[in-house]
């Protein structure tokens, strides 16, 4: 599998148009901030990401083991009272938009490419194992913290939420604390 993926990487570099450079980070940040502001003005709420994934997870568990899902306080909150589909949810529609928006931006800039993001010193297999492990930690952390970088750090940060600022500082602290040990993967 890893050999096949390396080939995909290799091929993509030759067949695709040259990707455009990224936007200036401050300009992108202001754009992102305007989207967040718009969300406050129109909806009275900010952005999110991990919440929609929890809804999907809750529906999946409910499909396999309904009795367990409905008796588990964590899942039942995301399943609602059964009067409407759990997918008719603000965050679910927002995250579908994120996927579409990301694709649009990537397509316009020639950045759609089947590839694996990693440093030159590690194999694709190594990288994918770490990607899965990192995702798991992220999932647990986001649920414990009641939100992720979008729903807590960005959204709560802009309205000066105490928990969001504490959370944001801890995210950077945690990432910098482990960065040294993971340098092989990225550099």
């Amino acid at each position: 599998m890893s050999v096949a993926l390396d080939e995909i990487n290799h091929e993509a570099e030759h067949t695709h148009m040259k990707p455009q450079p990224y936007w200036n980070p401050y300009l992108s940040g202001i754009g992102l901030g305007m989207v967040l502001l718009l969300s406050y003005v129109i909806m009275g709420r900010g952005l999110g990401a991990s919440g929609a994934m929890t809804t999907t997870a809750a529906v999946a568990v409910n499909a396999v083991a309904p009795a367990y899902a409905q008796s588990n306080e964590f899942y039942s909150e995301y399943l609602g009272d059964g009067t409407k589909s759990p997918f008719k949810d603000w965050l679910v529609f927002e995250v579908i938009g994120v996927i579409v928006g990301g694709f649009l931006s990537g397509a316009l800039a020639g950045r759609i490419k089947m590839s694996v993001e990693k440093g030159p010193r590690v194999s694709v297999k190594y990288r994918l194992i770490f990607a899965f492990a990192g995702g798991m930690l992220m999932g647990i952390g986001a649920k414990l913290a009641r939100g992720c970088t979008s729903g807590q750090a960005l959204t709560g940060g802009a309205v000066l939420n105490v928990g969001s600022w504490v959370f944001m500082i801890m995210v950077f602290a945690g990432a910098y604390a482990l960065a040294y040990f993971l340098r092989r993967q990225w550099t």
């Binding site: 990224y22 936007w23 401050y26 992108s28 992102l32 901030g33 305007m34 989207v35 502001l37 718009l38 129109i42 909806m43 900010g46 952005l47 990401a49 568990v61 008719k88 603000w90 965050l91 529609f93 938009g97 994120v98 996927i99 579409v100 928006g101 990301g102 649009l104 931006s105 990537g106 950045r111 089947m114 994918l128 990192g134 995702g135 798991m136 930690l137 999932g139 647990i140 952390g141 986001a142 649920k143 414990l144 913290a145 009641r146 992720c148 970088t149 979008s150 940060g157 309205v159 000066l160 939420n161 105490v162 928990g163 500082i169 995210v171 950077f172 945690g174 990432a175 960065a179 993971l182």
Partner: protein
């Protein structure tokens, strides 16, 4: 005073889902524009070689924070109607740490992984599955961590309320801090670029 529009019943739940989709498109678009569909670019933040995560995040926070502040100051928006996630200090400290570990191990956060998936990053797709794995683990152990999850509650509280200083003063302090962080980030990047050129 007429914002947030949704809170003043200017439209219903069905329409709010269309709003969600459009706002999501904007969110995803700017994340990708910034280069956050790339795990390497995101992780570079933690090696001081590319501080885009900090720059983008804080310019977004400052932009939205100033917007919210001015719109409520001129009486256009009722800030008390904007949703605040309640603070639970201890679980948010531990959750933040785990999320930070996950960020540098996995290379993404949930929002950026969605953008990376849609632009073809295979590691982001695996990471995305990992998030579900983590959520299942959390759901499974929830009965055992429930007490901790609800520990150290502080309610819906903002920094100005906590420090007991005026909202505008805190807004100003965040702007000053952000400008300082931007200057430090630019300086750090240049220093790292010089160091790497010497190698």
């Amino acid at each position: 005073m007429n914002a947030p529009f949704y809170k003043f019943d200017m439209f219903g739940d069905e329409f709010s889902l269309i709003v969600a989709f459009i706002i999501g498109i904007g969110f995803g678009f700017f994340l990708e524009r910034a280069g956050f569909g790339s795990g390497r670019k995101l992780a570079a933040q933690f090696y001081f070689t590319d501080m885009s995560v900090l720059k983008v995040m804080f310019s977004a926070i400052v932009t939205a924070m100033l917007g919210v502040f001015y719109l409520s100051w001129i009486g256009f928006m009722d800030l008390s109607l904007v949703y605040l996630t309640p603070t639970y200090l201890a679980p948010q400290i531990v959750g933040g740490l785990l999320l930070g570990f996950g960020f540098v191990i996995g290379g993404y956060c949930p929002g950026t992984s969605a953008v990376a998936c849609s632009t073809g990053r295979i590691d982001a797709m695996v990471y995305f599955l990992g998030i579900f794995g983590g959520i299942f683990v959390f759901g499974f152990v929830f009965p055992f961590v429930k007490d901790f999850y609800y520990s150290t509650p502080m309610g819906k509280i903002t920094l100005p309320q906590w420090f007991n200083i005026p909202y505008g003063v805190l807004v100003f302090a965040v702007v000053v801090m952000a400008v300082g962080a931007f200057a430090a980030a630019e300086w750090g990047e240049k220093k790292m670029a010089r160091k790497q050129a010497e190698l």
